[in-house]
Each structure stands twice: as structure tokens, then as C-alpha cells.
């Protein structure tokens, strides 16, 4: 389904362009077009992934190309859900370029054939992958919201009110949506880790094997658990919450890519190049 993949990428690109146009010219029609293109891209992308999965007979996360593609897809899904829930228009400025870049990177990647397709045929695994990817996508959005928060907070604190002051929404909206995306992300990766552990038991015979991937996943989970706990007890909101959301996402990036490339472990096949 190569052509569909390319058209989806082009839709994301155009959406990205419309978002930049919206940022500069503040015309509502650009923003509506951008969301429309994003939704179109997402629909095509879904078609492309499904057909790819059917052809391979398992979830398409066999190599880095497929993994990146699923990552972009998950971010688009979570972004669209958040957009329709919170009407936070400006977030597209972050999400659209991010998705576009991931898609372009995915397109560039070689596509080696899977070593052991049997490993991938399980419903537990499908649940594990979907929830982990959606969870990470939510954290990616939380990171973007954190950056936008810091940007807006900076203009208000320094009383500079430049380009972004009128274009970014209120601090409160950025903070609550950031919080909501962390709650969503945390719920998702919790389910993801549980299904992953169950699947590990099924295929390797034990729940936990101190593999670097497992350790770092646990670190990520604990990090976000601590973040949520502090918010609920000590009121970690605003600036601190925004910074933590950004750091948290860096930890995720390391868990996701760093572990595979630097530490090796049993998830290596998903980023095969």
C-alpha cells in the first residue's frame, strides 16, 4: 500500500503547512483545513497500516519503518481525539510537524523482512503494542503542551508579549490539557506494561527478566506515576508540571530508541534497519 502511505504523508505535510499559515495569519479557515487534512491523512494512514498488517499477517511493527509509521499514526490519533475534546487549535503547530517528520523518516527507512513472524502473532501482543504506542503519543503531546506552556508563561512573566502572546491559549488551558494527556498516557502505558508482562510469560515463560527494555519501561512508568502523585498531593502544576512533562518525554525517547540502539534487548526487532 505504498501509494496510500505516500498520500497520507502528503496530507500530513499540507496540514502542517496550513497550521503554519494559521500561526502567522490567524485565519480560521486555515485551521479548519489543517484539521481536515490531518483527519484525511489519518484515515489513509489507517488504511495503509491495516492492509500492511493483513498482508504480513501480524501487527506491522517489524522494522523501524513500520514502527515509526505506527508512532506517527498514534500521535495523529491522540491529537485528533484531544482536538475534538478540548478545541485546542494551536497544538497542531506542534503535532503536525512532528507527525510529518516521523512519516518522512519512516519513508526513508529500509524495510527488512521480519526474522521471526511467529513471535508477533498474539492478541496480547497487539493490545500491548496499541496501548504502548497510544500512551507514548499522549506523552508526546504532553511534552508539546509543556513547551507551549513554558513559551506562554515566559511571555507573561517577562511582560514581553510578542508574537506568541495573542496566538497561544491561556496558561490554564495548556496546563489542564497537558495534565489530561499525561493521565491518558499513563493509563495507556499501565495497560501496555501489564499486557506486555503477560505476553512475556506466555512466550518466554517468565514475567520479568531484567531486560534493559523492561527496566527502562519501569523507570518511565515510575517517573510519570511520581509526576501524577506530586500533582495530586503537592500541587505540581504550571511551570514545574510543564518541565516534568518535557523531561518525561525524553525518558520515553530513550526507552523507545535509546535502549534498542545502545543497550540492546529483546525489543530489537522492532527497530531493525
Amino acid at each position: 500500500m505504498e501509494p496510500v502511505f505516500i498520500i497520507a504523508t502528503l496530507s500530513y505535510m499540507l496540514s502542517c503547512a496550513c497550521y503554519f499559515g494559521y500561526l502567522f495569519f490567524q485565519k480560521a479557515v486555515l485551521q479548519r483545513t489543517a484539521v481536515g487534512l490531518m483527519a484525511t491523512g489519518f484515515a489513509l494512514h489507517t488504511v495503509s497500516l491495516v492492509s500492511c498488517g493483513i498482508r504480513a499477517g501480524h501487527f506491522p511493527v517489524n522494522n523501524l519503518h513500520e514502527t515509526l509509521s505506527v508512532t506517527g499514526w498514534a500521535i495523529a490519533a491522540v491529537f485528533l481525539a484531544f482536538f475534538f475534546r478540548y478545541k485546542l487549535k494551536v497544538l497542531g503547530i506542534y503535532a503536525a510537524p512532528l507527525i510529518t517528520l516521523i512519516m518522512i523518516a519512516a519513508y526513508q527507512m529500509p524495510r527488512p523482512v521480519s526474522q521471526d513472524p511467529q513471535l508477533l502473532k498474539s492478541w496480547w501482543l497487539a493490545a500491548h503494542i496499541v496501548t504502548i504506542f497510544l500512551g507514548n503519543a499522549a506523552f508526546a503531546l504532553a511534552c508539546g503542551l509543556g513547551m507551549l506552556y513554558l513559551l506562554q508563561e515566559n511571555t507573561i512573566k517577562n511582560k514581553t508579549r510578542g508574537f506568541f502572546f495573542s496566538r497561544l491559549p491561556s496558561l490554564d488551558l495548556l496546563d489542564t490539557t497537558g495534565y489530561a494527556s499525561i493521565v491518558v498516557g499513563f493509563s495507556m502505558i499501565t495497560i501496555g506494561l501489564i499486557t506486555g508482562v503477560v505476553y512475556a510469560k506466555a512466550i518466554w515463560g517468565r514475567f520479568w527478566s531484567w531486560d534493559p527494555k523492561e527496566v527502562w519501561s519501569a523507570v518511565t512508568w515510575l517517573f510519570y506515576a511520581a509526576l501524577l502523585h506530586e500533582r495530586l498531593t503537592d500541587g505540581w502544576r504550571g511551570r514545574r508540571a510543564a518541565i516534568m512533562a518535557i523531561i518525561g518525554f525524553c525518558v520515553i525517547l530513550f526507552t523507545f530508541f535509546g535502549v534498542n540502539f545502545l543497550l540492546q534487548g529483546h525489543h530489537g526487532t522492532f527497530t531493525a534497519m
Binding site: I156, K159, P169, S170, L171, D172, D234, G235, R237, G238
Partner: protein
């Protein structure tokens, strides 16, 4: 053809005591319009009066006589000697009057450029004029155009954007911090016109409870009653601060009323929810170092003034665009006025009828091939004669003073009856 004449004074030409004397109340406006209608020298009139300006817009046949009569009328009606305000009066004629009217409606001539009330006030003045039937073809057209232009200026330029008063600037900032001000709790420390105005704005934005702290408890209670809030003792401020979202401070205290370490402790007990300080006092009440605490924001009077100045600059920049829009509209209106002149109307009327006759003639002659050349010429002559006969009376009527005084009505009607193009 009638001239458009505008006679008026505003905040730039007349001090407030003069404006007070000349201003027309709604009831006076009605009465004045009836009297103006009774005066044959003043053909059409619209009277527009606010606290910042009085404008009498007229369409008249004899300009100088009309101006003289209008001035005398204002002096007599308001029982103020003409000499007291004559110097403050400005007078615009023709295109200049049109431009001025449009600029006023688009709020380019206002004390605060871009303030939105003026258009509504002008529409009301025009409504009165239509009720009293003092505005006719010319002023109707002018004011319809003016309202369209004013709307265009508002939507196509940023002239009405962003706050240009201290209290509005504070509200705008509050919205950037809290999103929605609904239910946000306010604490007012001290008193003062600007601070109270800010509280009024906040209440209009459906803010929550108002707490008033004053050194003199009794005046605090009084103010609290006005805002339907509660009064607290000055010493209680720091205890109550964990329960409010916006603090407006305006006391005469020589030193800071709120210190950084106090707020730092308070932030903990309010679990870091945002706290917005608006410090209107000089010398300042709120320690500026508080701005460095996470989720606490301090804006003092200078910061707010800075925002206001910036916004005023923005508006003035946008005003340039607005002037361009108005210039275009003035030209458009001028073209319409030209059509009301007798000669162009007669020319285009004749042109229209002649074209129709020629077209019909051509159509008919095509199917009448058996006619000889001389027969065809005879039919052509007859058509020409018909056109002349038909147009003779209307042309005469328009040329001579058949329509008794107000020619523009007859011209406008002619244009409408025969659907003549405006920009002929």
C-alpha cells in the same frame, strides 16, 4: 444638486464645558429635528450628539445660508450665545463632509481610537432622523454607506483589537492566565477609581466572590456592599490570600503590603494554583520579586501602561489601513453623487432608451426583408421620433425646476425607474 454640509464640534475643538452646553439630549434631538424639518433652507438633516461631539449633517441647496441658519438655530435652541462656541465649530462640505462622517462612524475621530460605542450611537441618531423624516435620498445613502464602511473597517483592520485602558489590559492578561474569569475570586486591597473599575470589569466577566481589605474597616465594608462581597480586616489579607485568584491592590501605603516570603508560603497552601496580582498603587504595594515565584504573576501600573501604549500604537497603525478604506468609500460616494447631477442622468437616460430602440429596430428589420431601403429609413425615423417624444417631458421636468426644490429625489427616482447604472 444639493451640497452635503457638516457642522460640528468635538473633544478636539471644544473643551468639556462648551460641549456640555451644546450637547443635545435624546428628547432635545427629537424636538430639534422637528424644527429643522420645518426650515426650508435645510433640506435634509441628521443630528448626532454624544458627550464628545455634536455633529449636524445636512444636505442643502444654499450652503452659506444653511450654515448661517444652522448656527443660529443651535445658539437659539441651546440658549447659548453663538460667540461662545463659534470658534470651536468646524465645517465640512462635499467630499470632506462625507469623509468626516465615515471617520467618525469608524471611530477614527474618537478620543480613544477604535472604541466601538460610537457606531451604535450614530445608528440611533440616524434612526431618529428617519422617524422624523428629516433625512432624505442623499443622507440616507450617505449613512447606509457610512455604516457599511464602519463595519468593514472593524472587520478588516485591527482597529478595535486589544485593550486600551489599564483595567481592560488587566482583564486581558487575566484571561491569558486563567482562560475564563468566571468564578475567579477577587481580593481588592485598598480602594481607588481605577481599582474599582477593574473590579467592575471582572464582575461583568462573571468573576466569583469579591473580598475587600481596607485599613479603615468601615470603608471596606461599604465598598464590599457595593460589590456584594465581604470585607476583611487588613491583618487578615495573608490568611485569605490562599482562597483568591486575583489580587487588585491600590493602597496609599509607603512600603510593600505583600512580601515575597509571605506569598511563597501562601502558594504552598493554595497548592500552586495561579495567583495574579494587579498592582495599581504608586508607590507599589506588591513586592515585584513575587513575580519570580512559580505560578504567581505580578503586573504593576507601569507594566499595564506599557501594554496600553503598545495597543494604542497598534491601533494607530491599523488606522492607516482604515483611512484607505474610507478614502475608497468617499470616491465611491462621490460617483453616486455625480449621478444625481441633471446632465449625466439625462445622458444616461437617453442612452438607455436609444439603445433599446436600436436593438428592437434591428430585430424587427431582420425579418422584414421585403421592405425597400426607403421604407426601412422611414421606420428608423419613426423610432427616433418616438424616442424623442417619450423623453421630451421627463427631460424637461428634470432640467427645469419642475420637481420644486429637491431635485435629488426626482433624479434618484429616474435612475431607479429606468435602472440606470450608477457609474455611468
Amino acid at each position: 444638486m444639493r451640497d452635503i454640509v457638516l457642522l460640528g464640534l468635538n473633544h478636539k475643538t471644544a473643551p468639556v464645558d462648551v460641549r456640555e452646553c451644546i450637547a443635545f439630549t435624546a428628547e432635545e434631538t427629537d424636538r430639534a429635528l422637528v424644527m429643522l424639518r420645518g426650515n426650508p433652507t435645510i433640506g435634509e438633516s441628521v443630528l448626532f450628539s454624544t458627550c464628545n461631539r455634536i455633529e449636524l449633517l445636512m444636505a442643502v441647496d444654499e450652503r452659506d445660508a444653511a450654515v448661517r441658519i444652522a448656527k443660529a438655530f443651535i445658539a437659539e435652541f441651546k440658549k447659548v450665545p453663538l460667540s461662545q462656541f463659534e470658534n470651536a465649530l468646524y465645517q465640512y462640505v462635499g467630499d470632506e463632509a462625507v469623509r468626516h462622517t465615515m471617520q467618525v462612524a469608524a471611530s477614527l475621530d474618537s478620543m480613544v481610537v477604535g472604541e466601538p460605542q460610537i457606531l451604535g450611537q450614530m445608528k440611533e441618531a440616524y434612526r431618529k432622523a428617519t422617524v422624523e423624516k428629516t433625512s432624505g435620498v442623499i443622507l440616507n445613502k450617505l449613512l447606509h454607506r457610512t455604516f457599511m464602511v464602519a463595519k468593514k473597517v472593524r472587520t478588516e483592520t485591527g482597529i478595535g483589537g486589544h485593550a486600551v485602558s489599564i483595567s481592560y489590559a488587566a482583564i486581558e492578561l487575566g484571561k491569558k492566565i486563567f482562560g475564563d474569569l468566571e468564578g475567579k475570586r477577587i481580593m481588592l486591597i485598598g480602594a481607588g477609581e481605577m481599582a474599582e473599575l477593574a473590579v467592575d470589569h471582572l464582575i461583568r466577566n462573571r468573576a466569583g466572590t469579591i473580598t475587600v481589605a481596607n485599613r479603615t474597616f468601615s470603608s471596606g465594608v461599604e465598598l464590599a456592599n457595593r460589590f456584594r462581597g465581604k470585607a476583611i480586616k487588613f491583618e487578615e489579607i495573608i490568611d485569605c490570600i490562599s482562597d483568591v485568584d486575583i489580587v487588585i491592590s491600590s493602597t496609599g501605603a509607603p512600603e510593600y503590603v505583600l512580601q515575597k516570603n509571605q506569598i511563597k508560603a501562601a502558594m504552598k497552601s493554595r497548592r500552586n494554583r495561579s495567583l495574579f496580582f494587579i498592582d495599581i498603587a504608586v508607590p507599589r504595594d506588591i513586592d515585584p520579586a513575587i513575580n519570580r515565584i512559580n505560578n504567581a504573576y505580578v503586573y504593576d501600573i507601569d507594566d499595564l501602561k506599557g501594554i496600553v501604549d503598545e495597543n494604542i500604537d497598534d491601533r494607530n497603525r491599523e488606522a492607516v489601513k482604515a483611512h484607505r478604506i474610507i478614502d475608497e468609500a468617499v470616491i465611491g460616494f462621490h460617483q453616486w453623487v455625480d449621478t444625481l447631477k441633471v446632465v449625466p442622468t439625462i445622458v444616461s437616460l437617453r442612452g438607455k432608451v436609444e439603445t433599446m430602440a436600436r436593438q428592437e429596430l434591428e430585430k424587427t428589420l431582420v425579418s422584414l426583408n421585403h421592405l425597400s431601403e426607403s421604407d426601412k429609413r422611414a421606420i428608423q425615423r419613426m423610432t427616433g421620433a418616438l424616442v424623442n417624444k417619450i423623453l421630451h417631458e421627463p427631460t424637461d421636468y428634470l432640467k427645469k425646476d419642475g420637481c420644486r426644490g429637491n431635485k435629488s429625489v426626482a433624479l434618484d427616482l429616474t435612475r431607479k425607474l429606468f435602472n440606470l447604472e450608477e457609474n455611468h
